[in-house]
Homo-oligomer: 366 residues x 2
């Protein structure tokens, strides 16, 4: 379907946005402005080398960068090339070391673009992969800390140029601190955190997700059409990936959707009614991301598996902050990367970690 990508150029950005929102499972922040600023950065500084973790030296200094906040805020408090680049530069000054490569917190929405934009402006390569293989609401849910990477030193930078740094021992504690700062700074900041060696990156990254997002976006663009027609091509593409199976769960109309910003997260739920009212409504719980899809007590899919809502007519994935009453949609579910079914990962991403009163059952067993 595509050549291996060695650089991210302007020609990849639309597909990346489409694919990344599919993998974002509703979260990760709106990609529209991040895509525009990444295009601006690439026009100014040239395409960004996309490198595998394996190609980096074991002692390379790798720094993940991205936005932290409530995705609804990403529609109004817009990132800039400057914020992303300055965050890296300020981080280098803070730790007294030059960055060799930039990595991503999560593939999904705006946070797929921030590292590329920052890397472009700083003339650095970006790593093909991310720390979640999707988007998830809290820092300790990233593969990096699950694999033992320390969260700090960390540095946060806000739209007004205010800066904060953090030193702490656990990512759970760091998540509280950075979330509080993000809220105090208007709801969305850029952070550099979980810096690590090339060796640590190789051991913890969810690999290849940037180039996979481009491929996925290309498919969604080329096969654009009513959602049911996408089921087979999507299943085929995912069958060749690090993800599990991808299937369509439900089609219908959004008859209710509400989120509130609570503690720095978008929290709420959406209700989707079957087009023919023949089966129970599908309820989707939201904490930044779509966490759980259920019909009554019957779980149809849950974290850490991916739940994606797409526009029924075009197959375009819809982030939670853009989901609204009256939209005709299809709901897809995709098995998460194997990493997230490990015992270590389950300690931080199982449904009970989000307050749900049931154990995780893999999508393919539901």
């Amino acid at each position: 379907m595509s050549q291996p990508i060695s650089h991210i150029g302007l020609e990849h950005l639309d597909d990346l946005a489409l694919g990344a929102v599919f993998l974002a499972t509703g979260g990760g922040g709106d990609p529209y402005v991040p895509k525009l600023i990444t295009a601006e950065a690439i026009k100014t500084f040239g395409p960004v080398p996309l490198v595998t973790a394996e190609s980096l030296a074991d002692d390379a200094f790798v720094v993940p960068v991205g936005s932290v906040g409530a995705p609804t805020v990403s529609l109004e408090l817009l990132p800039s090339v400057e914020d992303a680049a300055k965050t890296l530069t300020a981080f280098e000054k803070f730790v007294g070391r030059k960055i060799d490569a930039v990595a991503s917190f999560e593939i999904g929405g705006g946070n797929s673009f921030i590292p590329i934009c920052a890397a472009a402006a700083r003339g650095l390569p970006v790593v093909d992969g991310d720390g979640m293989g999707r988007a998830l609401p809290e820092a300790q849910m990233m593969s990096y800390p699950i694999g033992g990477v320390k969260p700090t030193p960390a540095l946060a930078y806000d739209y007004a140029g205010n800066q904060a740094t953090f030193e702490t021992d656990t990512t759970e504690t760091y998540e509280r601190h950075i979330r509080a700062f993000s809220m105090a700074a208007g709801g969305m900041i850029t952070a550099a955190e979980h810096s690590m060696t090339g060796r640590q990156l190789k051991d913890t990254i969810i690999p290849g997700t940037v180039s996979f997002s481009v491929k996925l976006g290309q498919l969604l663009r080329e096969k654009r059409g009513q959602a049911p027609s996408l089921e087979k091509p999507l299943a085929e593409l995912f069958s060749t990936s690090i993800y599990g199976e991808c299937r369509m769960l439900y089609t219908g109309k959004v008859i209710d959707k509400t989120t509130r910003i609570i503690g720095g997260y978008d929290i709420g739920e959406a209700t989707i009614e079957d087009f023919d009212s023949k089966q129970d409504n599908l309820l989707v719980n939201i904490k930044n991301e779509y966490l759980l899809a259920r019909q009554g007590e019957r779980v149809r899919a849950s974290v850490p598996d991916l739940i994606t809502i797409v526009d029924y007519e075009t197959g375009t994935p819809i982030n939670a902050e853009r989901l609204r009453y009256g939209q005709r949609v299809a709901v897809f579910a995709t098995g998460c990367p194997e990493f997230y079914r490990s015992e270590a990962a389950m300690k931080v991403v199982a449904p009970r970690c989000f307050g749900f009163d049931f154990d995780y059952v893999p999508l393919e067993e539901l």
Copy 2:
């Protein structure tokens, strides 16, 4: 009444606590544990030189240090000698400069002791004076920023050894950031901020308040007895000070008191009923500190003037977090230092800055 004090020793701590809680106007945090840890520090490291701002070189490096949080939390999340000293040491490392003298955010409650404790452990002098002449709930209300001192670089240290630093331009913004961090770190942290030169300190400090607190505490101890008997000696002492007149406003029983921690502050009110039910109840509005005392619509005293509630039988001042139903109390009001009646100060401490719908009228005109 007393010799000028050149050092703070063990013999001063009880009087300092009494006097500082009077000046704290209900806030500043509970002094009990801060007093104990200061005693421990003085026993270990010796008395702390108490120096005037005027005695410092114009280019001396002066760093205010203290607790930031909701005073109710100070009853449970206890400070330590280590926290106070480590905050200074971490700050020196952060800014790359040795501290010449330690200053105080506010005279009042626990925050009168934290700088002394930190200075003792680090072998530094502490400045006789503070940044408020009382306690007030927000950082931008300090005389230092009112006089143009920048809030950052600032460093915060929590009970678990977590650390954060902040860089911002205005103290209003800094207040939001440090308050959010304090809440995320459990509700109370130690901060070093508003560092300045000796020259800036001379221009902005409310002078002599540490030694005055000791004098005031000595008076409260020596004249211990029913509150009305204290009115004359207090009026005499304050008449020789930087404060305005001190008068007793009301005596009665606390019939209601409620505060909640909202946004990192203790917010609420207390109602005091006249012993003989002959006059209207006195309502006292609280935001960490006692801000406003009124009978119906009649303002009896308001910020920036000082409102102090003392135990009726002994004259012992009572902080807001220890005020409770059934206490028999007397309410005193004291004119604030002249600095706080300046136009620049009024912009941040007038009653309207706290959401009250009236202009400030000095105590002596009420």
